[in-house]
């Protein structure tokens, strides 16, 4: 619990809370970005450079942009006047949140003995990650690539002209 950890944790939590409590959806998206940036900082603090930078590159550079574009293109960015931020089915939300928290907590508590013996964190270089991805995990990587490609083609087909006169 170093001071840096506390600051980053507060930062992330504040971002996450703002993302669910703010009224303006674009503000929510921006607050979510703050939370994601905080997560990236956690990865960096754990010496996981590759994951940390990939988190910034993908979540802030692409996913956040996708989210705000989706908000802009689908609805007005004006905050809705009627009702509060609390949905009428808030009980279901609370139950789901509690369930997720319980599962996560259970998993962490179960694995606590594994963390007990303190070994030095292995220094994983980008080179090693690359070798692993191209060697041992090449099949999952290729499958993910195929999935993404098919998603891309699907998106193009959805966006294409109906009359078939694609540009």
């Amino acid at each position: 619990m170093t001071p840096v950890f506390c600051i980053v944790a507060l930062f992330t939590l504040a971002g996450g809370l703002a993302a669910v409590t703010l009224k303006n959806t674009v503000h929510c998206a921006l607050a979510l970005t703050v939370a994601l940036a905080g997560l990236a900082l956690f990865f960096l603090r754990l010496d996981a450079q590759f994951v940390g930078f990939a988190q910034i590159l993908i979540y802030i550079g692409a996913v956040a942009i996708l989210v705000v574009f989706a908000i802009l293109l689908t609805r007005s960015s004006e905050p809705e006047a009627s009702g509060g931020i609390v949905s009428s089915r808030w009980l279901a939300g609370v139950i789901i949140a509690a369930a997720v928290f319980a599962v996560l907590g259970w998993a962490i508590l179960r694995s606590a003995p594994a963390l007990a013996h303190e070994s030095a964190a292995p220094a994983v270089t980008v080179h090693q990650i690359g070798t692993a991805l191209m060697g041992r995990y090449v099949l999952p990587l290729e499958i993910v690539a195929l999935l993404l490609t098919s998603a891309l083609i699907g998106a193009v087909i959805v966006a294409m002209h109906e009359n078939g006169s694609a540009k």
């Binding site: 303006n24 450079q49 590759f50 910034i56 942009i65 960015s77 002209h161 540009k167």
Partner: protein
């Protein structure tokens, strides 16, 4: 003596730091590094603005600014004073907080990029293992600030400009990344100082810069195209097309915030030009073995300025693209070319030294280029555009 001159900034920093207690020295050295970056690049920005205006003037057979100081060299000072003293107007309906944060996010993200660029021998702020990835992560963060600026202004021109800018930056980030991957593949590292080291070797007095290989040359050209689009430079400057959408996403900014956007744009150009020089032009290494005695930072900044001149030259020449041309160019030409270039770089590696790889690689690249160029030129239809939603 010459070694001292090469390391003059490092020695200066160490000399300054030694006056502090031992505990503080490491932090002080980092702070000094950061101060150096924050001081040098805005100065360079001032020089480049006046250079650009005079250069563009000459290309159009004008003088350019020549009133403030000798040959107009103090023009940036006058501009700076103007920007600082102007009223900071925030639109009534604007989202004040986001409107205020947008230029700050942009400038911070843009300056972060310099922390991994080696600007001379031993002159790199943070020599990270994943330096290139860090650079691109910071570059991706600027997109969000552009969106923030455009959205929070509550102005349709701003929002249109932001939409265009974000669409363009996302589209051209792919070729930017993929064209630099060729250099990463050959050097076998994401660390920029390692990539420079790989190029800092000489045969017969000539350097091993990647630009002198077929894939390196094509990579540099593709990288420059993508970099120009990524920094919203002409001919890809339609996010701020004055004739259509006033000034794009910073229409509603005035005074010092506008100056910050301007600064961010130019500093972004420096960082991306520095990255291009690092990846393909050998970073701080000398162009000839006999010139190795010249301080390394002179070579880095020299290459940076050459890249700036190229940017200015292109800005003075090319007309602005249209949005559909821009997207077609990215997805139908630049990205396929970068993919081919990646293949060629792999071939180059696996064929091994010898004249065969030169022939094969050049043949593939030129063949694909000519073929794709023919297809693009034949398919070019200059008729009216068809609109899907705007009818």
């Amino acid at each position: 003596m010459i070694e001292k001159l090469d390391q003059v900034f490092i020695l200066l920093r160490d000399w300054l730091v030694q006056f502090l207690p031992a505990d503080w020295q490491a932090i002080a050295a980092t702070v000094l590094n950061v101060i150096a970056i924050i001081a040098v690049f805005p100065t360079l920005f001032a020089i480049v603005t006046v250079m650009e205006r005079k250069g563009l003037g000459r290309m159009q057979n004008r003088f350019g600014p020549n009133r403030v100081g000798p040959f107009g060299l103090f023009q940036p000072v006058a501009d700076g004073i103007k920007a600082l003293t102007k009223e900071d107007v925030v639109p009534l309906c604007a989202d004040t907080v986001v409107h205020f944060l947008a230029p700050l996010v942009l400038v911070v993200a843009v300056f972060m990029g310099f922390s991994v660029l080696p600007m001379g021998r031993n002159m790199v702020l943070a020599d990270m293992d994943a330096g290139l990835l860090f650079f691109f992560a910071m570059g991706a963060s600027t997109e969000l600030s552009v969106f923030m600026a455009g959205w929070s202004s509550r102005n349709k021109y701003s929002l249109l400009g932001a939409m265009r800018a974000v669409a363009q930056m996302i589209s051209y980030e792919v070729p930017l990344l993929m064209s630099s991957l060729a250099a990463v593949m050959t050097a076998g590292s994401l660390s920029l100082s390692r990539i420079v080291d790989a190029q800092n070797r000489y045969t017969f007095g000539l350097p091993h810069w990647y630009v002198f290989t077929p894939w390196g040359f094509a990579g540099l050209v593709l990288f420059s195209i993508a970099a120009m689009a990524e920094t919203n430079r002409s001919p890809f400057d339609l996010p701020e097309g004055e004739s259509e959408i006033v000034a794009g996403y910073f229409t509603e900014y005035s005074g010092f915030k506008f100056a910050l956007f301007f600064l961010g744009e130019y500093v972004g150009m420096f960082s991306i030009a520095g990255l291009g020089a690092t990846l393909f032009l050998g970073g701080w290494s000398a162009p000839l073995a006999i010139l190795k005695w010249v301080p390394s930072w002179i070579w880095f900044f020299g290459k940076l300025m050459v890249a700036m001149c190229l940017f200015i030259w292109i800005r003075g020449t090319m007309p602005r693209l249209r949005q559909d041309q821009l997207m077609n160019f990215a997805w139908k030409f630049v990205i396929p070319m970068t993919l081919v270039n990646l293949l060629v770089a792999a071939l180059w590696r696996f064929i091994g030294p010898g004249w065969t790889r030169w022939v094969v690689c050049w043949a593939i690249l030129i063949g694909v280029y000519v073929l794709m160029g023919e297809t693009i030129l034949r398919k070019r239809h200059l008729g009216p555009r068809s609109y899907r939603y705007a009818e």
